[in-house]
């Protein structure tokens, strides 16, 4: 537990009988860049709010940098930089004034970092925050978070509204100044391509539950798309088979483990395995979170039959 920046144990958060977070056990190793992925309403922001002390868990607990949430929240806040999903700061203050307001809270604050990142992101420092566009507001929020020189950064949609150059600069900063200096970064984002580049750990949350948590390298080396042709191919999902997509005699399997063994088994059954190919993070994510059985021309008839027989 000591080398975990964040350790959450069976977190539960219930909002009017809806479980936003459901027995979530999250493990973010120190020094890692952890991509926290999920659909809208999956529970990402709820989890983050619990870690930051903005909401109390209904059950379960967590430690952040070794400190318990709730009880030792101030110690956590001293060492954690946070960018919230809603990039809201005091509207009447300029970025320069916001810096002045924020730096008083943090002994490790670096004014050099403020100057450097203001330059890097081309942040307008003298306009009132309320008058800035979303992209510029994000830049100011990032600036305040980065200048803290914190051990842990929790970033919820940190590239909201940023143009491609801004996103690129952000990626470089994460690679060079954050991961490069051993800081831990938790990024909650929908930008899967960016996460795929910069993260070394990934956690996928859906309906408040953690579907997958592993090194990105491992995920990408174990998930495979197997295309096979033959009669009587297995149609059902299993622990290893995430999804099955069939079209006549052709079948596409998305397998999360032991792909080679499964392919061999198919060959033993007389099928022709035409392809065992790797998957990108986007495809893996989509396969994991899609619940509906896809309706292809192959099994549409079966589905229709099943529906009519249940009426």
């Amino acid at each position: 537990m000591k080398d975990m920046a964040i350790w959450a144990e069976k977190l539960v958060k219930v909002y009017s009988q809806v479980k936003a977070v459901d027995q979530l056990s999250l493990h973010v190793p120190r020094g890692s860049v952890y991509g926290f992925l999920g659909r809208n309403g999956a529970g990402k922001t709820s989890t983050i709010r619990i870690l930051m002390g903005l909401a109390r868990p209904t059950a379960g607990g967590a430690t952040v940098l070794g400190f318990a949430i709730g009880r030792e929240q101030v110690a956590i806040l001293e060492r954690t930089a946070y960018v919230s999903e809603t990039k809201i700061l005091y509207g009447g203050l300029t970025a320069q004034e916001l810096v002045r307001f924020t730096r008083g809270f943090y002994p490790n604050w670096s004014n050099d970092a403020v100057a450097k990142y203001a330059r890097t992101f081309e942040t307008p420092m003298d306009r009132p925050f309320a008058k800035l566009s979303l992209g510029n507001r994000t830049k100011v929020c990032l600036l305040l978070a980065l200048a803290q020189r914190a051990d842990l950064l929790i970033l919820d949609e940190p590239t909201s509204g940023l143009d491609p150059v801004g996103v690129d600069e952000f990626q470089r900063v994460v690679a060079e100044d954050l991961a490069g200096e051993g800081r831990t970064v938790l990024i909650s984002s929908h930008q899967l391509a960016d996460i795929e580049r910069i993260a070394d750990w990934v956690g996928v949350i859906d309906h408040g539950r953690l579907l997958l948590e592993a090194r990105l390298d491992d995920i990408k080396s174990q998930f495979r798309l197997i295309t096979a042709a033959g009669a009587g191919l297995p149609q059902g999902k299993s622990a290893d088979i995430v999804s099955v997509n069939s079209d006549g005699d052709f079948c596409k399997y998305v397998v999360r483990n032991n792909a080679e063994a499964f392919a061999a088994e198919l060959r033993n059954q007389g099928a022709t395995v035409t392809d065992v190919s790797p998957l990108g993070l986007r495809e893996i994510f989509l396969e994991l979170v899609r619940k509906e059985e896809s309706c292809t021309s192959g099994n549409a008839g079966e589905i229709a039959a099943a529906v009519s027989s249940s009426i």
């Binding site: 903005l54 919230s84 809201i88 509207g91 009447g92 307001f101 924020t102 008083g104």
Partner: protein
């Protein structure tokens, strides 16, 4: 840092209240100069019964106005300070700074309390200075004791509105509640009278303060100060508890 920020936000309110109170107090002095003061200091004798009546009416109106302006100030300060955070939805940012929430709550409260003190003190000092100047002799120091009941009354209203704003999460609702309580507070002693009970209301504090400013030695039970001071502290603690437990 947060103290500076709260002060910055409330600057506008503060200045307006200062000007209003100064203006009203200046009017009081002019009135007294024209129509003569109460028994403790006589600057000129009213010429006729009519003028005397106008003077009395004017004195009542102005006295009431002073109370109203101070209480109005207390209401807007109470709703404005913490209400600002709710309006801008910046609590998510504020509460993720490394400070205990109670520290932030008390800091915010303190800024408004100090501003109220300055406003009331200034008003009283304006009257004190003006009357001293006009009457040609140093006016009785008892005038400055008028600050105490005015401050206690105003702080009670301020803190109660502060608490209501925190509970309702909105400055508009906070002010409405505050106004509502003040109206009830106006009527309660009347109702209590019918049940043969004495009830000290906020308005009593204001009247006493104005009376003392006018130089009259009106009696006021000391324990009421303690009760209302305790009530005020209770409301701040209440606001603290509400905000500590609040999910943002």
């Amino acid at each position: 840092m947060y103290f500076w920020k709260c002060w910055r936000d409330s600057r506008g309110r503060f200045v307006i209240n200062l000007m209003l109170v100064s203006a009203i107090c200046a009017l009081v002095i002019i009135m007294e100069a024209k129509f003569g003061g109460p028994a403790s200091y006589q600057m000129s004798k009213p010429a006729s019964g009519v003028e005397n009546m106008w003077a009395t009416v004017g004195r009542m109106v102005l006295g009431g106005l002073v109370s109203l302006v101070i209480l109005f100030g207390a209401l807007t300060f109470g709703a404005g300070s913490i209400g600002e955070e709710f309006k801008e939805q910046t609590l998510g940012f504020l509460f993720t700074r490394p400070r205990r929430r109670r520290f932030l709550v008390w800091t915010c409260w303190l800024v408004g309390a100090c501003e109220l003190l300055v406003v009331i003190f200034l008003g009283v000092v304006v009257i004190f200075g003006g009357l001293t100047y006009l009457s040609g002799r140093v006016y009785t120091w008892r005038l400055l004791t008028a600050v105490v009941p005015l401050l206690v009354g105003a702080l009670a209203v301020y803190t109660m509105t502060y608490f209501m704003t925190a509970v309702a999460r909105s400055s508009e609702k906070g002010i409405s509640f505050g106004l509502g309580i003040l109206m009830i507070d106006l009527l309660l002693p009347v109702a209590a009278y019918f049940w043969h009970r004495q009830l000290t209301s906020i308005w009593d504090f204001m009247r006493t303060g104005c009376a003392w400013a006018a130089g009259s030695a009106r009696a006021f039970p000391v324990e009421q100060f303690i009760i209302y001071a305790a009530l005020t502290m209770g409301f701040v603690l209440g606001a603290q508890l509400v905000l500590e437990r609040m999910e943002v």
